[in-house]
């Protein structure tokens, strides 16, 4: 974590009084890829541990057993591993397993990350339990009335504070990069158990008929220290290539606005914003980006922001440390040449 989260978890009680709250356990649905928990999994554990020590992680998919060990070292007291769930997609059966487990143990809350699978499992669990869910959570707080969530509305322009009533377990979808993960504690004493999820009937009928892997050049958007994002201002896919070139020279990652993704200049996985990635790099360079609310919510917490736009009134300038009124197709070639000259 580079910058401290703006909101994140905080308690209203001095250390030690937490237990008086009689908080139940918090469960974290921890996604992993080939044995490595996703960064959001550690963030969820961090958020949960700030509220209680009684934290369980639930993980699944190929490599879940290897991931379980790491989850124990990052704050989970117990881990339930649901196996690889093939051949379907994970969400329907993970939700079915959670519904069973909730009926047995009634945790205080279940935390999910805002990812494809996280959203889907949370939605399915909410429907199964007939309990509401809170999305876009960026902060959590423990009060005398139990946990209270801060969450974005209207593309993040407003911040609401909400709590559940009679909803145990509360279902929370947390946004990435808003909660600090805990330091690794090794070795851990966490227990790991396997549980076979029940069948999920027709909801589990989706099959993958083809999968084309995308080769990742350079750092991922989540991890990059520098992100260079291009918007509609480039005008063509050929000119948009300058964004990738600049990102590569800076050893950073390429981002795109929804307009650039919709135009087919970049894959959806490069989209930054409300429906795409949340990034908080050291430096964010926005080129030909207007600065719509839905884009700002994905990048405005970057440590430093530079924006290049030919319109002096562009909204992106309102969040930039340096705004440059310029034609991207004139400035980027000069910037690229200047960087190449330094090598």
């Amino acid at each position: 974590m580079t910058a401290l989260p703006k909101y994140g978890c905080f308690r209203c009680f001095p250390n030690g009084r937490r237990s008086e709250m009689n908080m139940g356990s918090i469960w974290v649905v921890a996604e992993q890829h080939r044995g490595q928990p996703l960064p959001i999994a550690f963030e969820l554990l961090g958020a949960a541990r700030d509220l209680t020590d009684n934290v369980r992680a639930i993980t699944f998919g190929q490599g879940a057993t290897a991931a379980a060990k790491l989850l124990g070292e990052h704050g989970a007291r117990s881990i339930v591993e649901l196996g690889d769930l093939a051949p379907g997609l994970p969400a329907p059966r993970v939700a079915a397993a959670l519904a069973e487990m909730v009926a047995e143990e009634r945790p205080e809350a279940v935390f999910f990350g805002t990812t494809f699978d996280g959203r889907e499992i949370a939605a399915r669990l909410s429907a199964r339990l007939r309990r509401p869910l809170l999305a876009n959570v960026i902060g959590l707080e423990l009060t005398v009335d139990g946990p209270v969530a801060h969450h974005g509305l209207n593309g993040g322009e407003e911040l609401a504070t909400t709590r559940f009533i009679n909803a145990r377990p509360g279902i929370y979808l947390l946004r990435p990069k808003c909660f600090a993960p805990r330091d690794r504690e090794s070795p851990s004493t966490a227990t790991v158990a396997h549980r076979e999820p029940p069948e999920a009937g027709a909801t589990d009928a989706v099959r993958v008929v083809a999968h084309q892997e995308v080769v990742q050049h350079g750092p991922t958007l989540d991890a990059a220290e520098i992100v260079v994002t291009g918007g509609r201002g480039f005008g063509s896919v050929e000119k948009f290539a300058q964004v990738e070139q600049l990102a590569e020279l800076l050893k950073g990652a390429t981002g795109a606005t929804r307009a650039a993704v919709d135009a087919g200049w970049a894959p959806y996985s490069a989209q930054v914003g409300q429906t795409g990635k949340i990034v908080k790099p050291n430096v964010y360079i926005a080129c030909g980006v207007s600065g719509a609310t839905q884009h700002l919510v994905g990048m405005k917490d970057s440590s430093h922001i530079i924006a290049i736009n030919k319109d002096p009134e562009a909204a992106i300038f309102s969040v930039s440390d340096l705004g440059i009124v310029a034609d991207v197709n004139a400035l980027l070639p000069r910037l690229i040449r200047a960087l190449e000259a330094r090598r």
């Binding site: 703006k6 997609l89 959203r119 949370a122 939605a123 399915r124 909410s126 429907a127 309990r131 509401p132 869910l133 999305a135 209270v148 974005g152 509305l153 209207n154 593309g155 993040g156 322009e157 407003e158 609401a160 709590r163 559940f164 009533i165 909803a167 909801t203 009928a205 989706v206 099959r207 993958v208 008929v209 999968h211 084309q212 892997e213 995308v214 991922t220 800076l250 993704v261 919709d262 959806y268 996985s269 409300q274 429906t275 050291n282 430096v283 405005k300 430093h304 922001i305 530079i306 300038f317 309102s318 969040v319 930039s320 340096l322 705004g323 440059i324 400035l331 910037l335 200047a338 330094r342």
Partner: protein, 259 residues
């Protein structure tokens, strides 16, 4: 082939939601229009029915005060008819409540496919269609950037972090579609004229045999305590490129230890 498209009708000034200071709910007493995000679903549904050579597109919506402006827009694009649920007991409904109502509508009109946007422009919870799929017990293809019918199954393309997936499932099924999946058509003048005469069935909760008090288990609910504008980041300096702005960028990048 019968396809239902979920359409959300949202305030025109969707750049700015107005919250009622008393109830802390989004105010929906002004004029509502179709959420732009839903035009993609309407377009895809019209194409699927067109390719199937038979069938109809039905738009479904839940909105206060019998609001139908957004539905007329979808009808003008080419949908055959609309079903609207409007009931005072539904004020301030969240995603689960909406899904509960739409599940009853789907059970009534029995479509083969339900299409929705990935998330609305105003609420942006992004879970309603999946809650709907779970309530109905149907499979769902979320975040689809294209939809096709292949050998009686629904096929979708999904662009994820770990690559591009081609997904398939039997009908009935639900799909959510991303923006940019297709170019939505603009209603023609003729379409707009015809839309005025197309049927919109308006239902109350009693028509669906639903009781809003029973939507959640154990009377579970949310209590909004406050809504405040989010913290804004302060604007910095703005310069006009005089042909040497790259020098300034490089010096900042090294000051920030980025190069």
């Amino acid at each position: 082939m019968r396809i239902a498209v979920c359409v959300k009708q949202i305030p025109k000034e969707h750049e700015r939601i107005v919250f009622d200071p008393e109830s802390l709910r989004v105010r929906r007493d002004g004029k509502l229009i179709m959420d732009d995000s839903d035009a993609y679903g309407v377009e895809l549904a019209l194409r699927l029915v067109g390719e199937a050579g038979e069938g109809e597109v039905i738009v479904v919506s839940m909105a206060p005060h019998d609001e139908e402006t957004g539905l007329r827009h979808a009808l003008a694009m080419g949908a055959a008819r609309a079903v609207l649920v409007s009931d005072d007991a539904l004020g301030g409904s969240d995603a689960l409540r909406t899904a509960t109502v739409l599940a009853a509508v789907v059970a009534r009109i029995k479509p083969d496919i339900v299409i929705a946007g990935t998330e609305s422009t105003d609420g942006y919870t992004g879970t309603m269609p999946i809650q709907l799929s779970e309530l109905l017990g149907w499979p769902s293809l979320a975040f689809s950037s294209s939809l096709d019918l292949v050998a009686g199954e629904l096929r979708a393309r999904r662009e994820a972090d770990d690559g591009v997936f081609e997904l398939s499932c039997p009908l009935p099924a639900i799909a959510t579609v991303t923006s940019g999946s297709v170019e939505p058509r603009y209603p023609s003048l003729r379409g707009i004229m015809e839309a005025r005469r197309k049927p919109i069935e308006t239902l109350r909760l009693s028509d669906l045999a639903l009781n809003a008090a029973e939507f959640e288990a154990d009377g579970a609910s949310e209590e909004v305590r406050s809504i405040v504008p989010a913290q804004q980041r302060a604007a910095g300096e703005v310069i006009v490129d005089d042909g040497t702005a790259e020098v300034r960028v490089l010096s900042l990048l090294s000051e920030w230890k980025a190069i």
